[in-house]
Each structure stands twice: as C-alpha cells, then as structure tokens.
Point group: C2
C-alpha cells in the first residue's frame, strides 16, 4: 500500500478535516497515512475519534504557514512548518506523496524547492479537475502556478496534463484543447498562436482552440492555458454560481410551491459549486515536481481530504512522474 | 434629435430585428434612424410593418459581411457592405453614430479604419456592460478588441472606460478595478503589475486588483483587462450558466411541485443569461474610435437593437469622445 503524508495544518479549520480525512482514507484502505503537525494536538484529535488499529502515524512540526504568509517568505522563515516537514518526508523517500490544503502559493513554492522538478520540466503546473456535464472529468491547467508563461511552458503543461489524464482516468487518447477567445484558427493572442503551432507537432490528440464554455460541456479532456487566465476562469465560474444562487433565491421565494423548487434548485447549485471547487474532486495535482503533491482548497472538508489521499496514491501507483520524464525526454520539448 | 445609422444586415436573422428595432427606437423618440442594406428588401420590410410617419430612411448597400468572413478581408473585398456604408455615413458627418450586430471582428476593423481613432488613442477597446447583483452596471473592457496588450493599452482602456461610465451612468467617481488572480498586491502577472503601477498614478478612483467574481457582485464599476482574458471571462460565464441550467433541469424534473420550481428557476436563469449577453444591455460600445460605434451580439432581437440605438444616442449626447480626447491629452498617457 502507498504511504501518503497529510499536512494537518492546512485547512481553515485545521486539524479537524485533516485528521478526519486521514481516518476515512485509511479505513477505505486507500493508503497508509502520516499526519504532520503539532504532535500533542494531533494525538488528542486522534484519541477523540475512533482511530484505533488504523496505524495512523504522527510526525511533529511546530509551525504552520497561514494564508497571510507570502509564499517565499514562509518557506524561508518557517523551517519547521507542517508543509515543509511533509515535503521533506517525500523527498527522503519516507512517503510516496503529500496532501496539503494550506496556502496554495506556499505549498507550491515549498514543493518545488524541497522536492525539485522532474528531469526536463522547466516549471510545475497546477491542474484542477472538474467533472463536466457529460459525466467525465475535465482537467484545466495551469490554474495558478505560472502567471507569466511562454509557449514552451504551455507545451510542457499540455504534455504533463495529457499524461496525467491517461494515467488517472484510463483514457487512451484524451482530447487536448487550448483555451482561446474563439475556435477559429485565426483567433487567439500571440501566446496561444505560438502554442498552437507547438501542440500540433506533438503526438497527442490535439483538437485545437476551445472556449471557456468547453470546460463544462465535456468537449475536451485536458484544457491548457496559462496560470493567470486559468485562475481567472476558476474564480469567474465561482462568481457566476454565486450570483445565480442569489437570483434563484429571489425568483423562488414568492410562493410555497416555488419554495419547494428552490430547495431542489439549491441542491443543484450546491452540486455545481462543488464541481467548480476543485478540492471536491480530490484536490489539484501539482504536475512536474519530483514527487507527488496534491493541493486542496483551504475550505476543504474531511471528504475532500480523503479523496485527495486517494488521488495521491493513484498518482504514485500510476507512475505519472516516470511517464512525464520519459515523454519529455523523448519529445525533446522546451526552449527550442 | 440624434441621428443613428443601423447596419440592417448584422444579426443572424437580419434584417428583421434591425428593422423592428429601428421602428421601436424611433417611436420612443430616442433618435432618427437610417437603415443601411439592400434597399428593395428593406423597403418591403418597412412596408410590412407599421412604420408610416416615423421617417425611417434607407441607404442602399449591396453586400453584407458574414460571420465566416475574416475581418480584414471583409473590409478589403466588400467595399459596398452595409457596415462599411454605415461607417462612411458617420465619418462624413451624416449621422451621429452607428449600430451593428454583424461579425464583431469585421465591425471593429471597419470602424477603426473608416472612422480612425481619437487623438491620443492607440487602440480602440470594446466595452461590455453588465447589470450586477447590486442593480447597478459593471463595464468590462476590453472584451475582444486587443488580444495582445501592453500596460499602456490597458491604461488607455481604463481611462476610456471610466469616462464612459461617468457619462452614461452619471456616477461621479466610478470604482475602477484591474482584473487579476487575487486581490493582494503581490498577485497578478507582469502585465497587471505594470498596469497597476500606471493606474495608481491616474486621477481616478482606482481600487486595485479585483477578481472574476467581482464582475457580478457590484464591487467594481469599471473592470479592466486585456481583450483575450475579457473574452474568455465572457464565454466562461455563458458556459457556467448553460451547465447550471442543465443541472437544474435534471434536479427539478422529478416531481410536479419541483417542476413548478423549475419553471421559475428557468426564468431566473434566462434573466442571468441576458445579463451575460451584453447585447441585452444595448450592445457594447467600441471606445476610442472617432465616432460612435455600438456593437451588438449576432443573436440580438429587436429589443436589443432598440436599446443599442438609445445607447448610441446617449453616447453622442454625452460627448464621450470629446472627453476622452481631452483627458488623454491632459494626462499625457501612452507609451511613456
């Protein structure tokens, strides 16, 4: 069985969701789990719950990175932070992967510096996984690791995303699309046009330009964009869901019959919010680092953490990183 | 009264919505309207409707630009297209502004080449207007005129959008925000960081970075971004609305009571779709050209065209272009 470390101090209400998630994942036998954080606190939390015989271990870390900490500074100053201790365990081969719901910037920086990047990878890329209306998954990347990209960065993102999709979702030739402002070839900006020319050359099922709406309709499996645009897309989606909730509430609060409709509508909207919130799909893998690193939303619950442990174990078992190194070496991508 | 020309061959179902919209706008006495297109066809369309005594004129144009035409080619090859004839009327001072629901790229190119740009403006910027959940309007620009921007282009967009907002919505100090991947100053990419530094220096109510969700919550009046990102934001919003509609349909088709809820929910969703579709708010002004040019969605109905005629007349009356030239000259913006 795979061994996954969970940064126990990441969520907004840590360490409750982390401890609970670790227990659930261990019960399902998805992985052996080690929790990293203040050991007295974690011992008490485990003792309060029914965790006997599960073999969940604790590794002590005296500090925690907060949402207010700047990423680079957090890494430099908090040498005994739970995320840094967790990353060291992966680096030293004592675990197969890590899960953290902490400050995304700090987790990315810590993973990149502590674990290093894979052979041939210039920059890691954060991939968010969404279930779409066809019932399959769409991977959007990058959603925030690299806000300033050149075309070879997007090309590497595409290769890593495609390999991840194949390994995790068992699809032989996932459809890879490039996010643009229109499907026609003459659309796009200079970055997408350069990237389009690169992706056409690759031995993958590249379907060309796709649009923002295609994130949700199942037309594409791997949707490639830069970290700035990807993050804006994520947050715009959340905003639309919020305003629609508000409008529905207004429209459906008039009569009793309508209120029944509202309760049901709200359920559908909550389901949508979960789709947009990538943590619900087990967190976002940081592709390209030497090791397995799954990043969850700060508001994640125990269920999200549990799923993230599963994804981390599958990532390790699927040998995603070996495949990335192998294919990047074969394709001789990058600054060419 | 202002005199507005309407390209009668723009919408997907032209010239019905254009002719109808012209009649409605004239009846409301918002402007005198001239329709541009094949004169026999337009005469028949006017005769079929109750347009007597409204004084709607027709100017003949033998060609129409289609959605398939590439923008630059359409301009070069279709010298007698309805959009080009309409733009000439504005250029020659025979009308105060034009409205078109045609191929957006072709309309922008034609307006820019035929009318020219205002003194001090490097590139025009397309502004979309959304009602937000606070009941006010939010202007998002650029939504597609310039997909490759530098910071001085975004700066000019901000200035033009702010002036437009003041003139049309009668707000003294509209809040101007810069779209980014987070509100904190250390967020953003190199383009937004450079632009942030520029906007801070301007004599406007600049509130710093805002996020995609702020387009809908009324936190900001003028939301500045490049044309690539702005267009992606628009289309992502449409996609989210579509998938939520689908999920609601599923959730609410189970019982009769729920079905009643669905009918009401659908109404709210349609209202949201209208919000996202900028044409419903009277079309998107192309800011920075020497003249008034309002661009509508190809799927616009008569009501949208009517509103666009009103916006064009208000734009002319509000002397938006004089103000833009005056403020750009005073601020000595641009490539500095």
């Amino acid at each position: 069985m795979r061994h996954i470390v969970v940064d126990a101090m990441g969520t907004d209400t840590a360490p409750g969701p982390e401890v609970e998630g670790a227990i659930l994942a261990t019960r399902e036998r998805w992985a052996e789990v080690t929790l990293v954080g203040p050991q007295d606190l974690l011992r008490r939390e485990l003792a309060r719950r029914d965790a006997h015989g599960l073999g969940i271990e604790i590794v002590h870390a005296s500090e925690a990175v907060t949402m207010e900490d700047a990423a680079a500074k957090a890494f430099r100053l908090k040498r005994d932070s739970s995320i840094r201790v967790a990353a060291r365990l992966v680096r030293d081969g004592k675990a197969d992967g890590l899960v953290s719901a902490g400050n995304t910037g700090a987790v990315m920086a810590t993973a990149k510096i502590t674990l290093g990047v894979l052979e041939g990878v210039e920059r890691p890329s954060l991939a968010a996984v969404f279930p779409n209306s066809k019932g399959t998954a769409t991977v959007l990347l990058d959603v925030g690791a690299n806000v300033d990209c050149e075309s070879h960065n997007l090309e590497q993102s595409a290769v890593m995303g495609e390999i991840y999709y194949r390994a995790i979702f068992n699809v032989k030739r996932p459809r890879v699309g490039l996010l643009s402002n229109g499907q026609e070839t003459h659309k796009g900006n200079s970055l997408t046009r350069e990237t389009h020319a690169r992706l056409k050359q690759l031995p993958m099922n590249f379907i060309g330009y796709v649009e923002g709406r295609d994130l949700y309709n199942g037309r594409v499996d791997v949707l490639v964009t830069d970290g700035f645009t990807g993050n804006v897309v994520l947050k715009t989606s959340e905003g639309v869901a919020e305003v629609i909730t508000g409008m529905l509430k207004e429209a459906l609060s008039s009569t009793t019959r309508a209120k029944v409709g509202y309760v049901l509508a709200r359920r559908a909207l909550q389901a949508f919010k979960k789709r947009v919130d990538y943590s619900e799909y087990g967190g976002a893998p940081l592709l390209g680092v030497r090791g397995v690193c799954i990043i969850c939303h700060g508001g994640s619950n125990a269920n999200a953490l549990k799923n993230a442990v599963r994804v981390a174990a599958e990532f390790a078992t699927g040998q995603v990183n070996d495949k990335i190194e192998h294919e990047l070496a074969g394709a001789s991508l990058g600054r060419t």
